[in-house]
Amino acid sequence: MRFAETGFNLEVDLSTGNVERVETDPRLTALHLGGLGTNARILWDRVPPETDPYSPDNLVIFAPGLLVGTPAPGANRTIVSTFSPQTRFLGYSMMGGFWGPELKHAGYDKLIVRGRSPKPVYLWIRDDRVEIRDATHLSGLGAGETADRIRAELGEPRAQVAAIGLAGENRVFFASIEHGRSSASRLGLGGVMGSKGLKAVAVRGTKDVNVARPAELFQHCQEVLRYIVVRDAKPVPGVMPILAGLGSPQEMKIVDEKWHTENFMWGNARTRRKDFWTPEIEEQWRGTQEQVRKRLISCYNCPMKCGATISVPGVSTYMMKCFSKLTYTMAAYSDLDFGFRIAQRATEYGVDAFSAPQVMAFALELLEAGILTEADFAGMPPDTEGRFFWLLDRIVRREGIGDVLADGTYWAAERIGKGAQEYAHNNIKKHEQLPLKLGMLNPVYFLMYCTGEKANITQIEGQFPQAPFPTMEERLDFVKDWIQVPDEKFKQYLLDWEPRGERSNPYYPTVEMCCDIVDWQEMMHYIDDAVGMCAGLGSFPLKPPYHIHNWPAILSAASGLDLDEEGLKTITRRNRNLVRALNNRRGLTRADERPPDDHWKRRFPELEQKLLDAYYAYKGWNENGIPTEATLRALGLDDVAEDFRRRGILPGGTADAAAKTTADGGKA
């Protein structure tokens, strides 16, 4: 019997209509756990690097993580993996909600889709019965409307649906996959679904998920819940309100947006409004938020309330989470009421709420600069809010200028030319970033921005405070119950970290300490993404309930694998390197690894290169950011090493590789 996992993948080829239930190799679970880890293995084996993201040969994999469907609180994430139309590297994004557990209960660890259907279809998975159904009548519908229509026509109110809207159908480079209050938003995965003619996937599952050592796992789950209660009652003092507790940033609960509105940039990541948050604004925004927010809501088997149902007068009710509350508002220099209104339409269209507003603000800047002209915007209303709605409508339909903008700021700028590239200033690896522009280089964040494989800061940061505490008293208070540190030295790093003076950014934490800190932060995300744990209870917050010291026991009890900390770290490194290898094979090198030039005012080129050199070495990568042969072989990724040699990504010809293998074999 297989534990935690079902032991089967569902393989669907939309070109031929072939559907297969395929038993998986349990050794892959031992090597990669599941989720992103096993997704990366499948993509490595089956999608050659020349494959265009929108080609039928590309795969899109929907994978609930290893723990999804077990009693572990917060394990509900589906890791969607494919290649991104925007970055052209690995595109992976996670969605919470209820879809992942439903797929597990239907009897599958992954849904793997390839090919392209000649007409729009949706998948209906009801345990062992899988149908590819016509979706012609759903074309053009919003993602939420689609889910409702499908549940109604199937007569299955409890079916869970992941769907794309118009943006995905029209292959917008920042189209999302929407599922209730959750979405896999970043990197254009919705466009890949659209390119396959796949409008939605509906699932209903009624089977058991087994765990290996029930009583033991249950005890751990009880402890996690108890810890959540205790931790919730003890917010971390001295950090901004949304980072004080557990969960995703509590944007739906918290009204106080002083920090975001005064520190994040408005418009196309341009203007900082240092005195924005006045008592009048607070009162007005509180009114808006409390009027439209109907209820705080959770994902499957999680006590946190990171999402909300939002009902704006005159607009259909929808669900929201996290920071989409402010991205449209700030991009348009508007107010919260506008933010909630346009987010409803954007969610139905299915676009990424980080990229979409920035793309629109970028377009308006180009108009102002005369790079685009009034003719490009013929018919656009004069008011700011009206312009955003108008642009959004054009983009998701790829109409006129919308067709250019639908490729995101980087590719749009390339197409427009005439200096438009200067305005696509907030990208990493061609992907729009949080609108943050700061003063002093932060070395830890520098490394995370450069090397984060998802090109999203929120998917690598966490655990370690974002800024030093001003007083020693606060620091001592913070470290005294900091059980999550992998090593006691991290406490000292924090104790010694000062806001000013010698022990402050950018030279402190030192280069070596930065490597330790970033590696720890990243490791926790790689665990979450393999097991399907929400970052809100694992990798993102300060002092979370899941950490490197309890993960091995929890995972072992659930899956029957015999893991200790070292074993788990090795798996995490393996997954990390395989993800990197996928990108290296598609051309990723050191040259791609840089934050936006204007991210910090005060830059230190020499230190930055030192940081990158040291971190690459720490990770076992060469100076170009490519895992070395020794690193790959130590992780059992010999086939990756050999592929790298064949392609000339690593030095040494095929003959050398063969000699080396023999020599190693001889030693063994």
Partner: protein, 186 residues
Amino acid sequence: MSGQKKKRIVKTIHVNVDKCNGCRACEVVCSAFHATPKYGTVNPERSRIRVIREPLRDVFLPVYAGEYTAAECAGRDRYTIDGRSYDECAFCRAACPSRDLFHEPDSGLPLKCDLCESDPPLEKPMCVQWCINEALIYEEREEWVEEEEEPVEELDVGLASLRTRFGRERFEDAVARLARKAEKKA
């Protein structure tokens, strides 16, 4: 009735729908607790509590499995409360042929909440323990009830339900027929 009164404990779960966030942890832990081995499997379909969850209509309603019923009701009910309209039979606890709620997925046998009866007894049912948002609160109260003169036999309950189901005439015919058969054999 003898007029004697006796004390009994009434176990209640207070469901506060305003506090429900629809996470379904109650379903997860219920199915795990009632699994064999205990906590060995999870399957919300086997849970004796289900959350009727329609976020866009603000319907978040945990419902416990009650008595099995062999036949569906002659009529259906629909409620609208504070502008929220609940589906047909939403509040009903019965495992009933009209819907798939509260039936074992493989056998179709009815499920019923037993408040996590176990030895030693739990302080609170598991669903309550796992609902840390306190939408489910366990309450016990004492109640004085008339002592019944004779204990109600399981057989009596069964026979009474058969009579309800098939009507007095058919029921009595069947009993008489069975009695005749038994006589013949003897």
